[in-house]
Amino acid sequence: MRSHRFNPLNSIEGSKILGISCLLLAIGIYTTLSTDRFLLAGNLENIVHRTALFGILSIGAAFVIITGGIDLSIGSVVCLTGVLLPYLLTQCQWPIAAALAAVGGLSIAVGAFHGIMITKLRLQPFVVTLCGLLLYRGVARGITSDQSQGFGTAFKGLRTLATGHMRLFSGDDFNFRLPATALILIVVALAAMVILNKTVFGRYLLAIGSNPEAAKYSGINVDRATVAAYILCSTLAGLGGVLFVLDINAAQPSDFGNFYELYAIAAAVLGGCSLRGGEGNIAGVVVGAAVMVVLSNAINLVHPQYQNIEFAIIGGVILAGVTADALIRRILKGY
């Protein structure tokens, strides 16, 4: 018989957050020792900023993965909202509020569409969102005639949302300013944590991911909760797209947001979401997103000559991390 005392290492969530944090720390220490540019304020600001942007996408992906589903269309939704916002503002001359409402509404509609196809027509999430991946990028390229979209020098105020900073330390040698996107991530992450851990809806998502049939037998409206998860995911992808384009100020419809769904899914899985569903926590997902960003940063700083094989390195490190996690778990638990 097992010991009766509760061991946090036996808590799946606790051990996963611990594991991913160790990975982040290891990469951080390695990079710090390899180059003195890693800890420069500017570099750290950039890391936090990019972690925030990818973290927002990853949290969305996490909600869907927790229900046992998947969303492959995140990158294309990023592209769609990312090119539509400047397009509506500059070419169509829409007011800011209307343009934001339009891309927001569109993101919600995309998620609702996915959810309804998956629950009512019983289509597989992989198929539905794979088609979405192709569809939305095609639509984005069609609307904009494949022309790069940006704000030029206008909309400085709006762009502060993604480019602004808040001065935290103002010393002579260390001048860290917190990016505005980090504040947005904090708000999103806190809200997501509350939703997942403190609300009935969040608990239902975990239950559905763990066993949809038993969830139905427990009186849960499985379809409604699932649709809501897809809406959350697409809405956060849309928000991400808006922030990315506000930041970069140029969105090429053919490659804007390419592969971002894979970054988001990888971060969610690294952060402790099981693709089988029923497991996941927001803090881990944010750390997972940071691992992706820091890893990419480390390659840029330490081994710029390997930049062309960045994907291979990221893939290898994730695989190693996941393998180590599985092996350690098996040794500790005996299964």
């Binding site: 509760f6 609300t199 009935v200 066993n211 038993a214 427990s218």
Partner: protein, 511 residues
């Protein structure tokens, strides 16, 4: 019996099987002879399936031995049994519905040329085999384009393709229509003429009487007796199947029933849309639902719970007319179901004990504007674990770490936390240890004493007789009869369950 030994093709000598210390089969001997139909009958849990699995090499006996043609054999796998000419036709067919018929017949033994499967050869041989069974279909048709009855003939063709000399059929007609069953009887007679020995398991005594050349009766895993063809008679079989003292395992405390808790009027389930069900259950009453496998007990319960909504008729729950269209509606009305298969439909195995226990109470009790009341949740969890004596478990452990008995208690606890007025239980003690069993019985009586109406379906006759204040007996989707506690007898229930009890429709009991 020595005289017929020469005729015997497959023989079991004193075989037994223990599962984790529990005997499922004890010292059973039987002979299967060339060209005869040997029927094996017994109640649910009598050990028939275990015996069949041993004969077909699916499992190995803990004791005893098998002989083929008088020589000792050990089947360590189904393949070895097949090699010796013994084939099992499962209740659930073992075919690949996405492949074509020919591919199914020769699955694993595909005739090939240079490593490539020879479709033409398969088709030619398959067509011949199918024709010999009177099945005129293209071997290129997908298996799932056939009805279940025809799929079964494909499985028989598969057995014949390896020259099976003994065919073991486990409840072959349980999911067949009458015409399909008739065709199967013809095939069986034809197989007899080809000198194939057939072991036939069935709950339907009529077909046993019609088909069998010999009958072997099992009870509680033991051999009870054997009837030669001239002795075969339904009443005699039933008497042999029963004949056992009901144990004193069930401590009863009388609890006077209260008001009517649930009434079904002309209720029609999706599974048996042509049958109308009428019955009522009062508060504090424990009503057992008996019947054979496939009689519609589970379907009745899932209809009451709204998982598969009723297709007709009405339900009145606590005086309010309400026919639940989904479980949420049923739960709100106080009707809850602990389902038959707790792992697939009762529990979130990866979630903690606490989260499983609170799940059904979140919406109606444990939240403030959609936010979970954390303290209320842990309090509820602690109370339920105490009440049900869910021992040796931490509230934060995933449920999959718990024993079967404790898992079942978690399912019950989840529902008790909602304070139901009608508790539906489907096979409440299947697969759990004797200790947890008696605790669940105790709990059922305790709840009935508190005025909960309990309806439980069970294949365990002892459980039905020991617990019920009243028994509803189902047969092929309809109410075959209703028996009050005073008249309860195993024989009566069994007669009704096999469709030979009172045939008259049951009036809804007045409250």
């Amino acid at each position: 019996m020595a005289s017929s030994a020469t005729n015997s093709v497959l023989e079991a000598c004193g075989v037994g099987k223990q599962f984790g210390g529990v005997s499922a089969l004890k010292d059973v001997s039987l002979q299967v002879r060339r060209g005869e139909v040997l029927a094996v009958v017994g109640e649910n849990g009598a050990g028939k399936s275990t015996l069949m699995k041993i004969l077909a090499g699916v499992i190995q006996p803990s004791e005893g031995s098998l002989q083929v043609d008088g020589g000792h054999v050990t089947f360590s796998s189904v393949e070895q049994a097949l090699l010796m000419g013994v084939a099992l036709i499962h209740q659930e067919l073992n075919l690949a519905p996405n492949l074509d018929i020919g591919a199914n017949i020769f699955l694993g033994r595909e005739p090939s040329r240079f490593g490539l499967i020879s479709k033409r050869k398969i088709a030619a041989e398959a067509t011949q085999l199918l024709a010999s069974l009177g099945l005129d279909v293209s071997p290129y048709a997908r298996l799932d384009s056939l009805s279940i009855g025809r799929q079964q003939l494909v499985e028989i063709a598969k057995a014949l393709s390896i020259n099976a000399r003994v065919l073991i059929m486990d409840e072959p007609t349980s999911s067949l229509s009458q015409q399909e069953a008739n065709r199967l009887y013809d095939v069986i007679r034809q197989l007899k003429d080809r000198d194939v020995g057939i072991v036939y398991i069935s709950h339907r005594l009529q077909e046993v009487v019609d088909l069998a050349d010999r009958v072997v009766v099992l009870r509680d895993g033991e051999f009870v007796g054997e009837l030669e063809q001239t002795q075969i008679d339904r009443d005699r079989i039933v008497r042999m199947m029963v004949g056992r003292d009901v144990s004193q395992f069930y401590q009863r405390t009388p609890h006077p029933p209260g008001n009517t808790a649930i009434v079904a009027r002309r209720l029609r389930t999706a599974a048996f849309p042509r049958e109308q069900l009428d019955f009522s259950v009062r508060a504090g009453e424990i009503v057992g639902v008996a019947g054979l496998v496939g009689a519609g007990r589970t379907e009745l319960l899932t209809t009451l719970f709204g998982v598969t909504p009723a297709v007709g008729g009405s339900l009145t729950i606590a005086g309010q007319e309400l026919t639940p269209r989904n479980p949420a509606e049923a739960i709100r009305a106080g009707v809850v179901l602990a389902p038959e298969d707790r792992r697939s439909t009762g529990l979130m195995l990866t979630l903690s004990v606490e989260r499983n226990l609170s799940l059904a109470s979140l919406r109606n009790k444990l939240n403030v504007y959609g936010f979970i009341r954390g303290r209320g949740e842990s309090e509820l969890c602690r109370q339920t674990m105490d009440q049900l004596e869910i021992k040796s478990a931490h509230p934060r452990w995933p449920v999959r770490w718990l024993s079967g008995g404790n898992q079942q208690k978690v399912v019950l606890g989840k529902w008790l936390a909602t304070q139901p007025s009608v508790l539906l239980l489907d096979e409440p003690t299947r697969g759990i240890d004797i200790g947890s069993k008696s605790e669940i019985y105790r709990l059922m009586h305790e709840l009935a004493g508190q005025g909960v109406a309990i309806v439980f379906a069970s294949s365990d006759m002892e459980e039905i007789l020991g617990l019920s204040d009243r028994v509803l007996v189902m047969h092929q989707g309809r109410m075959a009869g209703e028996v009050e506690r005073e008249q309860l007898s195993e024989e009566l229930i069994l007669q009704m369950a096999i469709g030979h009890g009172s045939q008259k429709p049951v009036e809804p009991a007045a409250s």
